[in-house]
């Protein structure tokens, strides 16, 4: 098991510069700011495009009514096919990224994104929950975990130059719009 920290000079990132640029934007995102608000046309369009890009073209886009509703949806059975589709997509992107840049540089660039997310999203989730009058430390952390994973996915898509219509690029737009995509369960993509 390798534990050695990865250190990479700025000049070694090369083609991974878009990942670093993305990482710098993370603290400025209005994380979870649109949670529980009615879905917009853009939310629905991005939601449908995200589901289709993962192979769930028939999925409806539904709103989660509240934070507790989001917890119920994300805690239910039936999300495994969607989760597995995301895992497969992430694996394919990572392999593509390694063809374009050395692994240590890819890992270091991805870490920039996850470090930035980790430092930002938990506080944002806690504030969003507090605004809704809810004190739930576990739900705030789950939301933070989801947003951090989304940043990792978005960074992977950039590292692999997958384009703006890759599922992970679209998912990042949903988060940037203040939403929390909760997954595709029983034929529907749920957004908080």
């Amino acid at each position: 098991m390798a534990f050695a920290p990865v250190r990479v000079a700025e000049s070694e990132f090369g083609a991974l510069a878009p990942v670093l640029a993305f990482a710098r934007t993370i603290p400025g995102v209005s994380w979870f700011a649109a949670a529980t608000l009615p879905l917009t046309e853009a939310d629905c369009a991005d939601g449908a495009a995200y589901a289709a890009a993962l192979g769930f073209a028939d999925a409806a886009v539904e709103a989660a009514a509240s934070w507790p509703d989001a917890k119920r949806i994300a805690s239910g059975a039936g999300a495994a096919p969607w989760w597995d589709a995301e895992e497969s997509a992430a694996k394919a992107l990572y392999e593509t990224a390694l063809r374009a840049a050395p692994e240590r540089a890819v890992l270091a660039a991805l870490t920039r994104a996850t470090d930035a997310a980790s430092a930002t999203v938990h506080g944002a989730a806690s504030i969003a929950l507090a605004r809704a009058g809810i004190a739930d430390a576990a739900l705030a952390r789950a939301a933070a975990g989801a947003a951090t994973q989304a940043c990792y996915h978005a960074a992977l898509a950039l590292a692999a130059r997958a384009g703006a219509e890759h599922a992970f690029a679209i998912k990042a737009r949903l988060y940037a719009g203040g939403r929390w995509p909760l997954g595709i369960v029983d034929g529907a993509l749920y957004l908080l």
């Binding site: 534990f3 920290p5 994300a74 805690s75 996850t114 952390r141």
Partner: protein, 243 residues
């Protein structure tokens, strides 16, 4: 000695006797390594074992917090003169804690790991809250809320799992396997290192006192709250070689 000694800064630390500096370094090195090892062998693999997106995301966040603890101990370690290589697993000849030999295979095992593994970590961090080396004391204060949350995570998920007969049996099985391993987590009875830690006010309690306290708290939690059964263990723990 320890009642008067208060080391508030790294500069003051550098002026302390070699025995004090060596003792503090041992503790910081141990925490830096074990936080990283724990995240690598327990928390990160558990993301795949978690049954729902909610549990996976929550576990993902917990893993990041454990990595964050490693980073904070590592930063402190570097400030007090520990070479970076010694702050990561494999960087020294010292064997990792035996608890990391446990091969995690199920979600129930992970939940038990958080339930009683992080309870043990809480006891260790509690003992540092009064440490004479203030940067370590302050770091312990910082991470304590997260450690408590991680133990609560274990309790919450175990509380759900024991409601179902099949998963209750899996939790009990995991507890029966994992609890005895935890006894060595507190170090040897009659430890010379621990004697030096207490001499300098770096730690408050003997290893055997902490182990006995842990056994009481684990019993209240696992048997009192969750209705599980702890296996019989030797609460006296391993004896120091010189004792």
């Amino acid at each position: 000695m320890s009642e008067k000694l208060q080391v508030k800064t790294i500069e003051e630390f550098n002026q302390q006797p070699e025995e004090y500096k060596t003792a503090v370094r041992k503790i910081v090195r141990s925490h830096a390594i074990n936080e990283l090892f724990g995240a690598q062998v327990f928390d990160e693999p558990a993301i795949a074992l978690a049954p729902t997106p909610y549990a996976k995301w929550l576990t993902c966040r917990v893993a990041m917090e454990e990595y964050g603890h490693h980073v904070r101990f590592k930063e402190l370690g570097e400030q007090i003169g520990i070479p970076e290589a010694e702050l990561i697993p494999g960087g020294t000849s010292k064997r990792p804690l035996s608890v990391f030999d446990f091969k995690l295979k199920t979600w129930e095992e992970f939940c038990v790991n958080k339930l009683i593994g992080d309870l043990a970590e809480i006891l260790q961090v509690e003992d540092l809250l009064h440490c004479t080396f203030h940067p370590l004391r302050n770091l312990s204060r910082q991470i304590m809320p997260e450690e408590k949350f991680h133990a609560q995570f274990g309790e919450d998920f175990c509380s759900e799992l024991v409601q179902n007969e099949k998963s209750r049996a899996a939790v009990q099985e995991a507890l029966t396997k994992f609890y005895p391993i935890m006894m060595a987590f507190f170090g040897a009875t009659g430890s010379r290192n621990n004697e030096i830690f207490r001499k300098w006010g770096i730690k408050l309690r003997k290893n055997e006192e902490m182990r006995a306290d842990y056994a009481v708290r684990a019993k209240a939690l696992c048997e009192g709250k969750l209705g599980l059964k702890l296996p019989k263990v030797d609460v006296d723990g391993p004896k120091a070689a010189h004792a």
